[in-house]
């Protein structure tokens, strides 16, 4: 009788361990970590931006956003559901300050079924743009942008749900010109008009 109870308990423990071991890689597939090797690029950069804002910091920062400034209202709306915003951006005074291998560890993390590359542009001038989306069914659960230019390298990771409308609303705000829906015209934001 005692052996039967112990056997049942062991079985339960085994199932829980199995479930946990399966769950961990699923989360790990979606998780994107900024590579540590990027930090050394800051030493060669003329300008570098390092932003790491997790969910609690995003909520904290959003409390300080103005309710009157339309740009800040837009940002507040956008970050309300986000779990993190991570940016590494480097500007160099000459070419060849970073190598393709510096980006490999980021790309490797995005080569999982959870992530899909929606934009991959390579130009002969060496201006490359990549946009990756993390899909949770019909919803977008995250976004990674890799912009690699000869003298500039930027990696943006937005962790959390963003719907396509909100995503496109990033353009046209904060002085960023907005591309019209037909894609042919560039509509300047009100801020740009003032300038």
């Amino acid at each position: 009788m005692k052996a039967a109870i112990e056997g049942k308990a062991m079985k339960n423990i085994f199932y829980w361990v199995m479930a946990a071991s399966l769950a961990v890689p699923v989360f790990a597939l979606e998780d994107v970590k900024m590579p540590v090797n990027l930090e050394r690029l800051a030493a060669h950069a003329t300008e570098s931006v390092d932003v790491t804002l997790d969910a609690s910091m995003l909520q904290f920062a959003s409390k300080f956003l103005s309710k009157d400034d339309p740009d800040e209202v837009q940002v507040k709306k956008l970050v309300s559901k986000l779990k993190g915003v991570y940016v590494r951006s480097f500007e160099f005074d000459k070419e060849g300050q970073y190598s393709a291998s510096d980006l490999e560890s980021v790309r490797a993390q995005l080569k999982t079924p959870a992530w899909s590359r929606i934009v991959g542009v390579k130009s002969t001038k060496g201006e490359n743009s990549e946009v990756y989306l993390l899909k949770h069914g019909d919803e977008i659960g995250g976004l990674v942008v890799i912009a690699a230019e000869p003298k500039e390298l930027t990696i943006v990771h937005i962790d959390g749900p963003i719907n396509p409308e909100e995503l496109s609303e990033l353009g046209g705000h904060m002085g960023i010109p907005k591309i019209s829906k037909d894609g042919s015209k560039v509509v300047k934001s009100p801020k740009n008009k003032e300038e």
């Binding site: 932003v51 300080f64 940016v87 542009v121 976004l143 912009a147 937005i158 353009g171 705000h173 591309i179």
Partner: protein
Amino acid sequence: MTELEQQLAKALARRDAPAGFSDRVLAAVQQSNRRVPWWRKMVPKSSASAWRLVPATVALVIAMSGALYQHHEKAEEGETAKRQLIAAMKIAGEKLHTAQQRVVEIGEIRTNEGSY
């Protein structure tokens, strides 16, 4: 009984108070109590008691200064986080815009090539 004694007896004779006298006295007492400000009741009457309040006052001032400093620090941190957030969203928006623009440009080139 002499005339003087008679006058004294008349002057000191027991008489009832006029109507409403006790009410007026009680109202006057309450009025005088109300006039004393609350803080005056807290101020010790002797200097020895006043000296006893000094450490408590110093502690209160230190605690208030600490709270004000913490509030200031928190506000500074918040402003920094806000600036970082706006910078991050600006960079994200710019890079997305650039990628979008490049896709549009490629589409235009392909359309033009197809039309020739």
